[in-house]
Amino acid sequence: MPFHPESLVRELDEIAQRLRLDALEMIHRRKAGHPGGSLSASEIITALIFHQLRIDPERPEWEERDRFILSKGHACSLLYAALARRGFFPREDLKSWGHLGSRLQGHPDRLKTPGIDMTTGMEGHGVAVGAGLCLAARLKGLNYHVYVLVGDGECQCGVLWEGALIASKYRLSELTVIVDYNHVQMSGPVHEVLPLDPLIEKWKAFNFATIEINGNDMRQVLDALDLAVEIRNKPTAIIAHTTKGEGVSFMENTHEWHGRPPDDEEFRRAAEELRRRIKRYEEGYVH
């Protein structure tokens, strides 16, 4: 496993904090969106878009690129912000999110947005679609890797496990599923709505290699992604424990902020907390 230098970890972690603010600004401006599950996934999406994925903003349709499916499509504000900073489209476009005629839809649309590999929004599809992409890669003689980010609530969908069975049958080591395990879904805590534990054992039972990490720790995310690529002969599930609403104290660990935008005062307080995080990097106080 390659060693990730401290400077890289810090650089990516700083981006992750900036993306949180970008996403929250977008949600506030549009008065719609999903703060909780966007904030929880920031380190994971940052690590993928800015480091792990072999992608080229100049060639979003490049055949050999790694694929990323945001199966939990409701976290798209953060992905849009990441793709913009990565150069897939102008950051100015983020302001148009959700406006009639915008290339940025309420949930990801592969036909409208450069850098979006698959249309998502209805939960559950990413694993099976990702499996299909892996099978195609084998037939086409391409060696791209497919990453699928799923929510924990999404792990309640039957079709997700159907996809896992297919990935297992064909031993799709090119597939890495990352579970953003923030333990909170739209209507309440996951363990109350429909318990998933033991979630890791479930993925193991579906013949996935499993890696358990703190998904809000950039170094752990980077290490896990590298390890997943090295695993042969079976797909990998990274169970990434995260905090719903990570980075904004009053949004953390509550379903209230799954799908509601902050009002002006709430946004001011949230932005202040996130700016404080970013400032620590700017002033060099972190690590």
Partner: protein, 313 residues
């Protein structure tokens, strides 16, 4: 008597033959290899054949992934089971506009012996109402064989509705169907019978009987139900003013519905619809008996045509 041939066998054999020409063709089945006769393809191209078991939702999603990766998947399950995967079809195939060919086997009442759970009267209605999806129901073994390369080479999602039945051969080998075009099998002047699938040959027989009654009936094979060949419908409306549709599907939302919409939009005519009349059906020992029982007999078509001519005045 016309020669009778199996539509699904023609489908399976042609797909295997065409697979030799086009290396991008892959076949995905949800445990229906023998029902869809895709074993021919599996035998020749095992590396391009994926049996995913009884999971219709992931059948659609994994096929979408294969298409995103540049393959041309033919997804196979029973027509009724596309209802189970309806949201997958809408989000991952239709809305994402992914190049998957969805094959619905055992459509209508053609799986007579397994009963109403295995019959389907609303698959065309479902598929037809989704943007981007083309709906095709061939009338005989020649037509399905001729359609396979055209379906594969058409860019975009297609729903191919196939009967389990063996049906009379209507076309000769020179016939070249076109997606989006109805074909006139028999010229007429008094009434037009517009049909799809197994009902096309029943309409041919009905037209013979109508001739004996002094009624000249057009017979049209409307193999593409969406996009509907509206120009042809309007032409027939102008010429005859009396239309009969016939399909092994509900009279709501399928071919009859599509023709009614087209007529109402531009050139109204008297319309009679032959099909399943908004009812669930029963098990039977024969497909023919079921079609007859539920109002799709040759005599039902004849009577509908007579009514249409009379109503037109």
């Amino acid at each position: 008597m016309r020669k009778v041939m199996s539509i699904r066998k023609a489908y399976g054999q042609t797909l295997a033959d065409y697979g030799a020409e086009n290396p991008d063709i892959v076949v995905v089945v949800a445990d229906v290899t023998s029902s869809t006769q895709t074993g021919f393809f599996e035998k020749r191209f095992p590396e391009r054949f994926f049996n995913v078991g009884i999971m219709e939702q992931a059948l659609i999603d994994v096929s979408a992934g294969l298409a995103l990766g540049g393959m041309i998947p033919f997804a196979n399950t029973f027509a009724v089971l596309y209802l189970r995967a309806a949201e997958q079809v809408r989000t991952c195939i239709a809305y994402a506009n992914v190049n998957v060919k969805m094959v619905g086997a055992y459509c209508g009442l053609s799986n007579f012996k397994d009963g109403p759970t295995h019959h389907v009267e609303c698959d065309t209605a479902l598929m037809r109402s989704m943007p981007n999806i083309t709906v095709i129901e061939p009338a005989d073994a020649v037509e399905v064989s001729k359609f396979i390369p055209k379906i594969a080479e058409h860019k975009g999602p297609i729903y191919l509705r196939l009967t389990r039945a063996e049906v009379p051969v209507l076309f000769d080998e020179d016939y070249e169907p076109e997606i989006g075009r109805g074909i006139i099998l028999r010229d007429g002047s008094d009434v037009a019978l517009i049909a799809s699938g197994v009902m096309v040959s029943r309409c041919m027989d009905a037209a013979d009987e109508l001739k004996n009654l002094g009624i000249d009936a057009y017979v049209v094979d409307m193999s593409t139900i969406k996009p509907l060949d509206k120009k042809l419908v309007w032409r027939l409306s102008e010429e005859t003013g009396a239309i009969v549709t016939a399909e092994d599907h509900s009279i709501i939302g399928g071919l009859g519905g599509a023709v009614a919409e087209a007529l109402g939009e531009e050139k109204p005519a008297v319309l009679e619809r032959i099909g399943i009349r908004d009812t669930f059906t029963e098990t039977s020992l024969s497909y023919e008996e079921l079609l007859d029982h539920y109002g799709m007999s040759i005599n039902d078509i004849v009577e509908a045509a007579k009514r249409a001519v009379k109503r037109r005045g």
